[in-house]
């Protein structure tokens, strides 16, 4: 079927609900309303209120309840309406989801997928545009996934729900309806922990994910840049192998993300490259990111989020070094 990311995710949830009675969805406005982005549209009508639950307005409640469900053998897929509100339930992820497995030496794993929209570019109010992948990756014990296209979105969500781990599944709002793609009708999995090489080249490696994938691809295509473009897809655990192999070939690398620069996800990737491929590099590692402060009000977002111009300048700089 030809579908956008919303359609692909809706279809994945439908298949998962059909596959097993253990799968339950819970979140604010996900039932009758079908979610504020309509990702769960029609699912409550099809599977009932006990499987697609409209919850009271409480994020710690949603995430803690989902953990309990998972510990008792269900496979919950909670939705947090926006990533900016997930911090009200952060405690449950940091103190419990991440470590229930290690705390019980794998006797009690937490198989759940927390879905939440991330990142900006769509002129929303404060707290509707955050890119929080570094927070969740830093904890350890949480798998952090972020698709950039409908095909990956469906396959990664299905894979995530089939795993026995807590997965934080980040959905870029800007990409929800940006484009359509041919997506298989049935079940399929996209491997977690494996990046996707979306462009091949010899002069430069660009590591990116989420909203920045189309931005980078546009620049690379328009300017005919001879670059490996790696769409990480899984941020934690990192697919270090794919990155290092590419860097060994190109000798130059930049990391492009929408999350802010300081102590951001690019720092971790950069450190690993420096530690393991320093002598393959012919230029310093570059990071292109939003500036080091919280996401601004929508009137300022075009001054904040990295745009094609910023990516292009960084590429020129790196290639000239």
């Amino acid at each position: 079927m030809m579908t956008n990311m919303v359609g692909a995710l809706n279809n994945a949830l439908d298949l998962l609900l059909k596959e097993s009675e253990d799968v339950v969805l819970l979140g604010e406005d996900i039932g009758k309303d079908g979610g504020v982005f309509r990702v769960t549209d029609g699912l409550q009508a099809k599977y009932g209120e006990h499987r697609v639950m409209d919850t009271p307005l409480a994020e710690a409640g949603i995430l803690g309840t989902a953990i309990g469900m998972a510990l008792a053998g269900l496979r919950p897929i909670p939705e947090i309406q926006f990533a900016g509100f997930m911090f009200l339930g952060f405690d449950q992820l940091v103190n419990h989801a991440s470590r229930y497995r290690s705390r019980t030496r794998s006797a009690l794993p937490v198989p759940m997928v927390v879905r939440t929209p991330v990142s900006g570019g769509v002129r929303t109010l404060e707290h509707h545009s955050e890119s929080p992948e570094a927070y969740y990756s830093h904890i350890g014990g949480l798998i952090v996934v972020e698709p950039s296209n409908p095909y990956d979105a469906k396959g990664l969500l299905i894979k995530a729900s089939h795993m026995k781990d807590p997965v934080v599944f980040l959905e870029p709002t800007k990409l929800y309806r940006l484009f359509k793609q041919e997506v298989p009708d049935g079940m399929y999995e996209v491997e977690i922990g494996k990046a996707n090489m979306v462009n091949k080249g010899d002069s430069l490696t660009i590591v990116t994910w989420g909203t920045m994938v189309p931005v980078v691809r546009n620049v690379v295509t328009k300017k005919n840049v001879d670059a490996d473009v790696i769409d990480l897809r899984t941020i934690n655990p990192l697919d270090e192998k794919t990155i290092l192999e590419s860097v060994e070939k190109t000798g130059k690398v930049m990391i492009v993300h929408e999350a802010s620069l300081g102590f951001g996800p690019g720092a971790e990737i950069s450190a690993r490259i420096a530690e393991k491929a320093m002598y393959e590099l012919s230029a310093p590692i570059l990071r292109v990111a939003s500036p080091s402060f919280p996401y601004p009000f929508p009137g300022y977002e075009n001054f904040y989020v990295p745009n094609e111009k910023k990516v292009e300048q960084a590429i020129e700089k790196l290639l000239s070094m």
């Binding site: 604010e28 406005d29 039932g31 009758k32 309303d33 079908g34 504020v36 409209d54 009271p56 307005l57 409480a58 994020e59 710690a60 409640g61 900016g84 509100f85 911090f87 009200l88 002129r123 929303t124 109010l125 404060e126 707290h127 509707h128 620069l261 300081g262 500036p291 080091s292 402060f293 601004p296 009000f297 929508p298 009137g299 300022y300 977002e301 075009n302 001054f303 904040y304 990295p306 745009n307 111009k309 910023k310 300048q313």
Partner: protein, 340 residues
């Protein structure tokens, strides 16, 4: 005052004169006109996502009139009518809905905190502000707002509990507009009333018809008068006549009959009918008021639309000083001219 504009004289507050009622009505009209304007600007792409106040003016103006000038106001994201009543510049209100932080550069003497979007997270701030009033013996009280949905958040309970323990001069207004996006009040909590949640915190909880501006005024006024003894929770029963925000489609989850039922309980209509009955108001005055309001609103819109954002302001307001590392980011961005 009920929906047919009948007043229960046993409950009627003594300090409410006809002049005050007239003033309340005019302020409600202004708030409503501003709301309509913001909605239409959003539809034209001249404002960001907007959260309407239509139908909730009684709850907001009643409280604003009960508050003293020195009382603090700690809003969530839907109290534009309170901002109007407290004299916050209309162009600044509009600037918020154009998406600029400069709209919230609120002079401290206004005793008003920022518009807060994460539900219920401003309530602990209200507790802290109230503690500071008691601590410094300022005699000021604090009024804060939370929606029916917001009463499900942990921070709502934590705030009530703190306020009860420290006997703080705080009035927590539950603006129960029956909906939290698509969630009806009945599914938000199994509690019969939201006011009764106060019992668990050991503080008084009162329910009032939120579309009766005089009723709201009285209840909040009484609560403020008692604030030196401790906090009160006031549940105002009102209704969100419009969509949750401009990003929402209420036809997905509620029916027209319900909306029609509440339209008959419109907070403006009953006050207007009362004033007309007493020959204090007529169509002529209504038209003049509408024109005057529109004129002020148009000026405010013009002013807010002439605002030119300076991207450097994002960098210069992060810390009390400019760290070298941030200065470098600013320099790089300015030189490279990413902003063009």
């Amino acid at each position: 005052m009920d929906e047919n504009s009948n007043i229960d004289m046993n409950l009627f507050p003594k300090d409410v004169t006809d002049a005050k009622i007239l003033d309340m009505y005019k302020t409600m009209s202004m708030a409503r006109a501003l709301d309509a304007k913001a909605l239409s600007l959003q539809r034209q792409g001249r404002a960001v996502t907007y959260a309407p106040t239509l139908g909730q003016e009684g709850t907001q103006i009643g409280a604003a009139f009960a508050m003293g000038e020195n009382d603090w106001f700690v809003p969530n994201f839907r109290q534009h009518a309170v901002f109007v009543a407290r004299g916050y510049p209309l162009d600044k209100i509009m600037l918020y809905w154009r998406g600029f932080e400069e709209s919230l550069a609120i002079p401290p003497e206004k005793k008003t905190l920022a518009v807060i979007v994460p539900v219920a997270t401003q309530l602990p701030h209200a507790v802290g502000v109230a503690y500071a009033q008691k601590y410094k013996n300022t005699g000021s009280n604090v009024v804060t707002y939370v929606g029916d949905g917001g009463t499900s958040e942990g921070q709502f309970y934590e705030s009530m509990n703190f306020a009860g323990v420290y006997k703080l001069p705080l009035v927590m207004v539950i603006e129960n507009n029956q909906w939290a996006i698509s969630m009806p009040r009945g599914k938000q909590s199994a509690a019969t009333t939201l006011a009764q949640k106060a019992i668990a915190a050991g503080i008084p909880g009162i329910q009032v018809d939120g579309n009766d501006v005089i009723g709201v005024y009285k209840v909040i006024k009484d609560a403020l008068a008692a604030a030196s003894d401790g906090p009160t929770v006031v549940e105002c029963i009102t209704y969100r006549l419009s969509m949750h925000t401009t990003a929402d489609d209420p036809t997905k989850y509620r029916n027209d009959q319900e909306v029609a039922f509440w339209k008959q309980r419109d907070p403006l209509m009953r006050i207007k009918n009362y004033l007309v009955k007493k020959s204090l108001w007529n169509d002529n005055m209504e038209n003049e008021l509408a024109d005057a309001n529109l004129k002020k609103i148009d000026e405010a819109v013009e002013k807010s639309e002439s605002f030119k954002p300076d991207p450097q302001s994002m960098f210069k307001n992060v810390y009390s000083y400019m760290p070298d590392v941030l200065e470098e980011e600013l320099d790089e961005a300015s030189k490279a001219n990413f902003w063009q």
